[in-house]
């Protein structure tokens, strides 16, 4: 019989994340501004510190303020490089840390021909990933020892040249949101657990936050927070410390020790007030009627939790032995829920770890399970664990204590974190050994403290959420959300574009003309900044045949594309073009508004609707091309004149960099039997480069 104490079961258990995370603040010797409230600190020389408490690891602060942690790995191991930035999900705005990390990984510089950090690491045979925690973001690189130097150079160069292009950042955000939406579709419980470990109240709210972010916020985030004094570089390598230190320092032009960003843009980087709110999180979605996907999410401590972690682990193990046995299973049986087969996994962020138990259960059983979880936790106070329960739990706790470092990446992150904060790596294990003598600690106090630890239940399924105290409804995806990048457009969506395209064709010649349109001949003068004017005489056919004669500074460059023969001739010297270059040239021709309309008429190009927007004094209907030919090609149709005013697209250059091209078409005039634009302004990457083309002649080629 369980004796009930006079506890308010409806009391919300709110756990200040900041309180918990104060102990998780890394790099205590950071000389950057304190996180909350932010205030400027007077500049002072950063003291150099070298500590070598463990012969197999060294900590060192470089003269630019970057803290380093070097570790010897067994010979033959891969090398790990982990860069931590004190810029986690609690900083500034939800989703900003994740987006900033994505931008850091995927930024490329077409002007300099520098591919993204991800591409550079993968080209070395390595991998790179970003792990977002509450306080820290970690860039996790695995590489062969021989490529360590190149990977550090790539890291530094990427830190120094994160893109500020709005279009690039927006593209990365679209990709990130599409990826998250796909994960939510595949494994909603896992993603929900991850959100809870970030102190979020739901996945839909998080996606909304991402959608609301402005690209300029990312640039400010990088400027203010991605700074050497806020970073720690952890390297685990089989090479000796001297070699590794040399890589960090030399050569000076590319060494990370010489990474000195320009002064930060002034302004605060506040920390969001966030709490771990235990409760039943319920999302109503489509699914099999009567069944609900349910999970328990129970936070576990790691060695960085200074006080009470051992006792917490023991109480947790009394509750459940990694999803089996314990009070939880026993009380499940008593409640008649005997046929739940839990799948367990450990969900991790750099700053938090949780046991997640998942199953698909009938709707009513989900409610029962929530009650069982609460009763089982409470029972640790009402009916204190027996000595045999505690011994079992202690045995289990010793295994669980090392779960935060179960992978080599997590182990390195934890080791660097502990070293940086002066916490003994074996502190938690030592404490577990001490409390194996049950007389040395108070189990009831531990059980009471355990009630404060975060524990959630997540339920996702069809039908309205039940009415329960502690129930927190959330949206899996924001209302009306559609990740347009990866989702297939519906036939209805495609059909909705039809009227716009018909009207656009009507405004420029009519369907009959477009039936016969196979190409064009044009003559245009191109004016660009810092370049001499050029004249292009173009003959283009929709089959892909192109002849372009470019006259510049009295010389003629002739480009010919026909089938698989692609070449340029200059001064009687002929040079072959590669497939990528040929594709870029062809796309330039295919992007002409009338060629796009013709392709749509032929049925080779379809569109989906994106939005209707106001731009200045115009209303524009935006349609996006479907299919693999173009990368996010969008046309903006003036809703009044039905003329295509803007064509924008992404193109991949031969050096693997991505560039955003925006073409603004104007000055529509009669051209043969059609109406065509005679002025083109082309902008690359938000104005990095611009040209203006004025067509003195543009004639459609019509088949007889």
């Amino acid at each position: 019989m369980i004796r009930s104490h006079n506890h308010n079961h409806n009391r919300r258990r709110s756990h200040h994340v900041l309180t918990a995370m104060t102990t998780a603040l890394v790099f205590t010797a950071c000389s950057g501004p304190p996180p909350a409230p932010p205030k400027p600190e007077p500049k002072k020389p950063i003291p150099t510190r070298a500590v070598s408490a463990n012969a197999q690891s060294q900590s060192l602060r470089l003269h630019n303020g970057l803290e380093t942690y070097l570790e010897l790995a067994p010979s033959g191991s891969d090398t790990q490089v982990q860069l931590a930035v004190v810029a986690g999900s609690l900083f500034v705005a939800p989703g900003l840390a994740e987006l900033a990390a994505t931008v850091m990984l995927e930024s490329s510089d077409p002007a300099a021909g520098r591919p993204s950090l991800r591409h550079r690491i993968e080209a070395l045979g390595g991998t790179i990933d970003a792990k977002i925690g509450l306080m820290t973001t970690w860039f996790d690189i695995r590489i062969h020892q021989n490529s360590l130097a190149k990977s550090i150079i790539a890291l530094r160069e990427s830190l120094e040249s994160v893109t500020q292009s709005r279009s690039q950042i927006e593209r990365m955000r679209s990709d990130l949101i599409a990826t998250l939406a796909a994960k939510l579709d595949d494994e909603p419980l896992r993603e929900a657990a991850r959100m809870l470990l970030h102190g979020e109240v739901g996945t839909g709210a998080y996606l909304n936050s991402l959608l609301d972010l402005d690209p300029s916020e990312v640039s400010l985030f990088h400027s203010r927070l991605y700074r050497p004094e806020r970073c720690l570089l952890a390297i685990s390598s089989a090479g000796d410390f001297n070699e590794t230190r040399a890589i960090l320092h030399l050569p000076a032009a590319t060494a990370i020790a010489e990474w000195n960003p320009p002064p930060a843009v002034p302004g605060p980087s506040p920390i969001i007030e966030r709490k771990f709110e235990s409760g039943l999180y319920w999302a109503s979605t489509a699914g099999r009627p009567g069944l609900v996907q349910a999970s328990f999410v129970m936070r576990l401590p790691d060695a960085s939790v200074k006080s009470g972690a051992a006792e917490w682990l023991v109480m947790h193990s009394c509750l459940t032995l990694g999803g089996r046995g314990g009070r939880l299973e026993r009380m499940q049986d008593e409640a008649g829920v005997t046929d739940v087969h839990w799948q367990t996994h450990i969900e991790r962020t750099p700053d938090a770890i949780a046991l997640v138990m998942s199953a698909t259960v009938p709707f009513q059983q989900a409610i029962t399970l929530w009650r069982v979880l609460n009763r089982a936790r409470q029972s640790l106070i009402d009916v204190p664990p027996t000595p045999s329960e505690l011994q079992l739990a202690l045995r289990r706790a010793r295994l669980d204590a090392n779960l935060p470092g179960i992978s080599s990446g997590e182990r390195l992150r934890l080791a660097a974190n502990l070293k940086s904060r002066g916490i003994a790596a074996r502190g938690l294990i030592t404490r577990l050994e001490q409390i194996s003598d049950l007389s040395t600690w108070n189990q009831t106090d531990a059980a009471i403290a355990f009630q404060e630890t975060p524990a959630w239940m997540v339920a996702i399924g069809p039908g309205p959420a039940p009415e329960l105290p502690d129930l927190r409804p959330f949206e899996l995806l924001p209302k009306g959300f559609e990740a347009t990048i990866d989702s297939e457009p519906t036939p209805a969506a495609i059909a909705a574009t039809g009227s716009w395209l018909i009207r656009a064709r009507a405004a420029t010649g009519g369907s009959e003309m477009f039936d016969g349109l196979t190409g064009f001949n044009s003559t245009g003068t191109i004016v660009a900044d810092r370049s001499p004017d050029a004249t292009d005489i173009i003959v283009w056919n929709q089959s892909g045949k192109l002849t372009r004669r470019r006259k510049i500074v009295g010389q003629t460059l002739t480009t010919e594309l026909e089938g698989n023969n692609w070449s340029e001739t200059f001064d009687k010297v002929r040079k072959s073009l590669n497939a990528r270059e040929a594709k870029l040239l062809r796309h330039q021709m295919m992007r002409h508004p009338l060629m796009l309309l013709a392709a749509n008429q032929r049925g080779t190009l379809q569109f989906r609707p994106i939005a209707q927007r106001s731009s200045g004094d115009r209303e524009l209907m935006i349609l996006e091309a479907i299919g693999n030919e173009f990368d996010r090609l969008r046309i903006h149709i003036d809703t009044e004149s039905h003329l295509i005013r803007i064509v924008e697209s992404w193109e991949r250059l031969p050096d693997e960099t991505l560039v955003h091209v925006r073409e603004s078409w104007s000055d529509y005039r009669t051209a043969g039997s059609m109406r065509a634009p005679h002025r083109l302004r082309t902008t690359w990457n938000d104005g990095e480069h611009q040209t203006e083309t004025v067509f003195s002649e543009w004639l459609p080629t019509l088949k007889n």
Partner: protein, 545 residues
């Protein structure tokens, strides 16, 4: 495919390492790093000398004076750990820190179980993986996939753990299986269905399928799971050193006293999944025909056909389980920071005998072809075809893997030769295929041209004949090596995943030592002989019409 093909890079001795040796150190005596002492020590464990035990250095200053800028090629003075001139430990401080070592051991116990023990000072737990064949060699005729299903049902408990009355439960399960077979033989028969429900309820009263995992959890063991790594089944869990004896005994019990409760929960879904896969992959018929030409007794053929919807009886299920789990047919890999002597002793004591009878297995021989063999399989809309050659004896799986990737590569010989004419060519290369011991099987090329141009198979055969004749640079396969390396890095973060991969590798390539091969680049002179030998032989060709 990646897991089966990846070679592990760990090297036992400094001399074998691929990375440059640290110049400043002499070889220190190797000893394991300190392990967390257990509260209840299991057996006698000698405490080896500790490496890298944290000791407070009293000779380190708190801070050093900062200096400005670099001084030539030396580290700036402010970067060096500064020490007082007369520090007591200065001689020791000048020695480079001892390099942590990873050590490999092999053990074969009295019952024939093979163990690979990898002592890794950086791994806090012990990760244990057991690989066994589930390619059909132990499936009874007409029941392809039964071996995998028995593996997936194996965590539901044993006669000792989970049964309240083993004799009664055996009888109840026998009756249940008979009723189940009746039900499948008479689909839609409500009486048969009711009988199954009734007998299932009775059997459930006699056995609890949750207890075994609960006992494992208490051992403690983390996340015991069975992985379908077709054609292998891999069992994996994570535990601690003090629990090794308990866990070993439980795994022995799982092997020897397996009750195969809940087999229906594993068997029926697997049959339906294979039926669906067969329907969605018409090209399985091409591959099945290739095997019929070159390896007609391969058990993989049954896995490529539509599965019969039928149920095994208990004897068949137990026979499949016992054959696949016989000690001589499994490989164990343990990775962790453990006392090797203690682990060896414990494993030797626990795995000392078996009641299982070793199956009389025959490896499916490959039929060498005196000339090309051709076949046509109608009704495959995607067109193209499959070509297969016999593989020579393979001693270097990494070289074979590089060859396989190169053949599929967008810059590989087939796309270079055919890319302009067939820009949408789809190439899938598998080797060794099907997966067998030591790669004694085939190299398969599955080819499709969505444009439907005829003659694809003949063109590819002609190109392959000349591949090995063309000179290749020594760095020809470097790009593929980088891809392989990247794939390896993606999975090698987890010691548990490494244990699983090594167990697979040790089972598939028993002659290749785990501690000898590093994931390093192979020059063309290592890869080319394989391609020469393969393409010099006569292929079997199956065209889709």
């Amino acid at each position: 495919m990646i897991a089966a093909a990846l070679c592990f890079l760990l090297s036992a001795a400094p001399a074998a390492q691929a990375v440059p040796k640290p110049v400043s150190q002499g070889p220190p005596p190797a000893s394991p790093t300190p392990k967390p002492p257990s509260a209840t020590p299991e057996g006698q464990k000698p405490q080896a000398a500790k490496l890298g035990t944290a000791k407070a250095r009293t000779d380190q200053p708190g801070t050093a004076k900062p200096t400005k800028g670099n001084t030539g090629t030396k580290f700036p003075a402010d970067q060096e750990p500064t020490k007082p001139a007369s520090e007591p430990g200065s001689k020791r401080a000048k020695q480079a820190p001892p390099v942590p070592l990873r050590k490999f051991h092999r053990l074969t116990t009295a019952d024939g179980s093979r163990f690979h023990l990898i002592q890794d000072p950086t791994v806090a737990h012990i990760h244990w993986a057991i690989a066994s064949w589930a390619d059909g060699r132990d499936d009874p005729p007409g029941l392809p996939g039964l071996t995998m299903a028995t593996a997936q049902a194996s965590l539901a408990g044993t006669w000792s753990t989970g049964s309240s009355d083993p004799q009664a439960e055996r009888e109840a399960l026998d009756k249940l299986y008979e009723a189940w077979q009746q039900q499948l033989a008479k689909p839609g028969n409500s009486e048969a269905a009711d009988q199954v429900i009734k007998l299932d309820t009775e059997a459930a009263k006699l056995g609890d399928s949750r207890i075994f995992e609960r006992v494992l959890a208490a051992a403690p063991a983390f996340q015991p799971e069975i992985l379908d790594r077709a054609p292998l089944a891999v069992f994996a869990l994570t535990t601690t050193e003090p629990a090794i004896e308990t866990v070993a005994k439980l795994l022995l019990e799982r092997r020897e006293e397996q009750a195969l409760r809940d087999l229906d929960l594993a068997w029926l879904p697997s049959v339906l999944a294979r039926a669906q896969a067969h329907a969605l992959n018409p090209r399985h018929r091409l591959h099945g025909e290739v095997l019929a030409l070159l390896m007609p007794s391969s058990p993989a053929i049954a896995h490529l056909e539509a599965p019969p919807i039928t149920a095994p009886n208990r004897d068949q299920a137990q026979a499949a389980w016992q054959a696949s789990q016989h000690p001589t047919n499994t490989v164990h890999v343990l990775i962790g920071n453990f006392d090797t002597d203690y682990i060896k002793k414990t494993l030797s004591l626990v795995f000392s005998e078996t009641k299982l009878i070793a199956p009389a297995r025959r490896e499916a021989p490959r039929r060498p072809l005196g000339g090309q063999r051709r076949s046509i399989v109608p009704g495959i809309a995607s067109g193209g075809g499959a070509i297969a050659w016999g593989l020579p004896p393979i001693t270097d799986p990494t070289a074979l893997e590089l060859a396989r990737r190169w053949l599929m590569d967008e810059r590989g010989p087939l796309r270079r030769a055919l890319g302009k004419k067939r820009p949408n060519l789809v190439i899938d290369c598998r080797a060794p295929w099907p997966t067998t011991t030591s790669g004694q099987s085939l190299l398969l090329l599955d080819l499709q041209d969505p444009n439907g141009k005829p003659g694809l198979v003949n063109e590819v055969i002609a190109i392959c004949k000349t591949i090995a004749d063309k000179p290749l640079s020594q760095g020809q396969f470097y790009r593929n090596y980088l891809q392989l390396s990247s794939d390896w890095n993606r999975t090698s973060d987890s010691p548990r995943a490494i244990a699983i991969m090594l167990a697979e590798r040790a089972l598939v390539w028993p002659a290749v030592k785990l501690d000898r091969l590093a994931l390093r680049h192979r020059k063309a002179d290592k890869v080319l002989p394989i391609l020469k030998a393969v393409f010099a032989s006569n292929p079997a060709t199956v065209e889709a019409k």
